[in-house]
Symmetry: C3
Subunit: 435 residues, 3 copies
């Protein structure tokens, strides 16, 4: 069986306010572990994980399934070419199935690539997908015989050589040769990898496209967590409620659900699946929790509404609306704080990433809140706003722009204080009689 080369050494700079995208937990398991479990399912025995020096330790702490052997290689420099170059030596001239840890595919695609490789052990295999509008990725230019002539990284819009873009599931049949081809391109972070493939093709290796109809998922920007969450939630079948879960009176639980050990759901609350609620979490009274991922050891407090949102571990809420939002670990919000998720004009929501305004493609998108953030009472976080880890947002703040890591944003309200010339009535009996 082919070994897997899993690229997990990329930086997560566009993923801010979150870090280490490959370690993002879903259902209590870091994304990397989902990859391990997937490759075990399709029969892989060995994985080489390419890490960077910053994340090495955390990645090594991810548990490894029994049936799998994982080794780690620290990559020099940046980019996928460099990553493959760094790891390639350990493959000698064996074949490798190369995957990117921040991309998520269904089992079927990987199985089909492996099947094709078993039948044709000499060709490079490149997974592709058809696009109906411009996509900023690597396009393939085809020969007449249906094999690949050339890969073109990010052609200008209108200059696409075909309607097929590559997705990051490759088979390289002879790693040693490929490494040789990479030699001069490895340090090009953006397209070294594609240039090496092109060179191999020129030197006579056949590169075959494996067209897939499947959509894939990836973590690039922070809001992509919601896409991956949705896919995880969609995989839940039936209601898996641990026997230790305490469910109060007047509670409704509808739809697919995973509710882990020690969870408590208080009176008057409605849970609408698909839903994941991690162990030890306390869902308060009169909540509605819908189509969301709630980490472990959270407390949702009284009358909270969490809808289509991802919540990390140990986060606390109290009478909040958290819609289409992503909340890290150890975050808390004061009573009455709202993460707005829809613009008044209902237009698509943009978000600044590294000074660039990015179209998120979402009409509904709430806040993205890093770890260990504290937000006071009655604050309002505008759609698409990101808050860096360790920051505080004071009571009553209306936050319309991103807030960096480790900042304190205080509301300094303008008030007028004067002698009160008005008098409150001594009694409200006239109102009480009407109740």
């Amino acid at each position: 069986m082919i070994d897997v080369l899993l690229l997990a050494g990329g930086e997560s700079t566009r993923f801010w306010p979150f870090t280490d995208k490959n370690l993002t937990p879903f259902f209590g398991k870091p994304l990397l572990l989902w990859h391990y479990e997937q490759v075990v399912r399709i029969g892989v025995k060995n994985v080489v994980v390419v890490v960077n020096s910053d994340t090495k330790e955390k990645i090594q702490s991810v548990p490894v399934p029994k049936k799998l052997t994982v080794s780690y290689i620290v990559q020099d420099g940046n980019g996928q070419g460099q990553a493959v170059w760094s790891a390639g030596a350990s493959f000698e001239n064996r074949p490798a199935l190369i995957l990117n840890a921040s991309d998520i595919y269904e089992d079927d695609l990987l199985k089909s690539v492996i099947e094709t490789h078993k039948k044709d052990q000499q060709s490079i295999l490149v997974s592709t997908v058809r696009v109906t509008s411009y996509f900023p990725g690597a396009y393939v230019k085809m020969k007449e015989d249906g094999t690949i002539l050339e890969m073109i990284e990010k052609p200008k819009e209108g200059k696409e050589p075909s309607d097929s873009v590559t997705i990051f599931v490759y088979v390289i049949p002879h790693m040693k040769e490929f490494r040789t081809a990479l030699k001069s391109y490895a340090k090009r972070p953006l397209d070294g990898y594609e240039r090496a493939v092109n060179k191999m093709i020129k030197n006579g290796t056949v590169a075959k496209p494996i067209l897939t109809a499947r959509q894939w998922l990836y973590l690039k920007y922070p809001w992509h967590i919601l896409n991956v969450m949705d896919a995880c939630l969609a995989s839940i079948k039936g209601q898996n409620i641990d026997s230790s879960v305490k469910i109060g009176k007047f509670v409704t639980i509808e739809g697919p659900a995973i509710i882990e050990e020690g969870v408590k759901i208080s009176e008057g609350t409605k849970i609408v699946g698909p839903i994941f609620i991690g162990r030890g979490t306390i869902v308060g009274n009169n909540n509605i929790i819908r189509q969301s991922h709630i980490g472990s050891n959270c407390v949702t407090g009284f009358a909270t509404d969490i809808t289509r949102s991802y919540i990390g571990d140990n986060s606390w809420f109290h009478t909040n609306y958290v819609g289409d939002s992503i909340v890290g670990q150890n975050v808390s919000m004061g009573s009455g704080t709202v993460c707005a998720n829809l613009r008044l004009d209902e237009s698509a929501i943009t978000s600044k990433v590294k000074e660039e305004v990015i179209q998120t493609g979402r009409t509904k998108l709430g806040a993205m809140i890093g770890d260990t953030v504290r937000i006071g009472v009655n604050a309002s976080i505008m759609p698409g706003v990101k808050i860096g880890k360790g920051s505080f947002v004071g009571a009553g703040v209306v936050l319309g722009e991103d807030l960096n890591d480790g900042m304190y944003c205080r509301f300094t309200p303008t008030v007028m204080i004067s002698q009160n010339s008005k008098k409150a009535p001594e009694s409200r009996d006239k109102f009480k009689k009407k109740l």
Copy 2:
């Protein structure tokens, strides 16, 4: 049977932010249709509706009950005198029961006027009501024989000729003669009508007052919608819940109710009658909806409190308090937004209409919000404030004054952003243990 002349050509300028007061829907039917149904009940066969050129089309689109023939006349100029003048020609010299479309009376009053007319087909009949304090309307000065000597429009306070003011239910026995009398006064928008009656009396026609003990209702200022709503709600007998209505668990429905087809009431909600909920509306979880009129196709969202309020069609809420308020069509409010309905000093609420401060006579009065308004999260709309159609109100705004049509009011909060010298604890286990 006498024909009805229904004056529906008045402008609705004091009715802002709402338009076309005669078309205001109650229980899904425009007010005009309520008039049609009423006159059918008391036996009338023909109605002539006086419209203006702006509203003609909309008024003609109001459905007409089978037993009624309705014709439309566009009035020239303004005022009731002008309206009667414009319409009078079609009556030849027949009698007419003249009603104002923005006034609402009980069947009994109309029946009693018609009965009197049947017995005395030569006199002008003028409905009157006794007032105990000054009212800015037309007073009657009486002869010793109990007939009317003169009508006096808006006498100065203290100069009232009697304690009886007229209300707009008249019988004119010979319309052709009356039109002649109106000729020179028709263009006086304020008192042409009364002057014509006075002239008729001088010329020998007897004008009899029909005193009624009933209060009548009218739509003049926008808050009057609440009075008419209350009367409509008070007419509901028992619980009329369509068989298609879906009622979730832990729902309480108390008191008289009309709940139309396709309505959904979610778990944990309480409905307190008298209440109308129009077809297709979704009432969310853990709401309280009391003594209100909710239009069709609305969504109330989670944990919303709508109390003694009128809501038009297609409006959306989410964790709002809407008290003693009037909300048009296609309005939405963000989570946490409140329409305050009581001043801190609990004094009567005033509202500016055309630059004049008007006593609304209400201690509890919330917001009046025109069609297609959007309000962000955690906004606060002060008692008696009006918002013009198509306007946006941003998150966190405290709106203490009226906002014109088509405006955008943004909150520009003063905040201070600095490095955060504080640190949030890594764990809240000490708090969680106490839960």
Copy 3:
């Protein structure tokens, strides 16, 4: 049986925004009545209450249990020495058990002091407690024989003569003699009392410490009301729910409770004991009321959360969070107003008292709100903030500092109003389909 001299003439200046700390009602009874009932329980027949001229009338209106005779003496000047001097004449040379009305002890301590006095009718008895860190009170310096050599009021930290401080439960065996000793010190408000005891000791009277392990409670600062409340709540055994109480559907009541006559608890609400709810109070729908003292004739409104708080009579709420807070009588809060009870950094909460920043010793402490205060909608009151009686706080205010009696604090938000260049969609059907 020994008579009690109960000192209730102290001013309550540090108790602001509340007044007359000895009259603070718990479970509908002023604190003074709790004292009367206690001394009846331990067998006392006569109490002399020292009052001041301002509070005399109110204190005399406190009902007296049948088995007790109470007389009142107006104290001259300030301080406990002056109080005892003023009252002492009525004791002739009888013994007196001297108690402070704003201190609260368990029956056992008083019983044990009385028992000791019965066996030794010549010694002054001084209750003491061991402290493990510096406490700003009167320390005792001991003789070798275990009797008291001297009392030292507020020694400097590090200069304490022992680890025992006195608590205000004294027996003076011969009041006439003591009064003579007090003569020259009575006007020293801070330490006259202790000096007189010291003088008696020098003159040969034995003063014995009665060491107690019990913690005592006292009302000095306003937040101490929460401590006394907690002790009262802890004394509730089982659920004492009056037969007239109306409990709606889907209500949960857990833990010890006193719920008095005429209380109504509406649908979907959870009550968590220990709890006291005074007569005639209406608890609204979908509330959570936890570990709190709710006075009589209150209305909690819809979706309110009152947690670990003391609420006086006749106060109204509506969708509020009131956490670890103290609310006087006839207070009302608008919908969405929050009394925050935890700092963002979760550090201990301080409060200014007479220009001095006092450590409250609490991590969770909300607002302290005097009588007849009105707070508008969506206001935020910061932890530890005090609001003086009769004051108004406007909608949207974030109140971070104390507000004096009789003030009006208005929010004057900065907004920008412009033509609205945006347009709200005519329909939300796309969102409704997903519901």
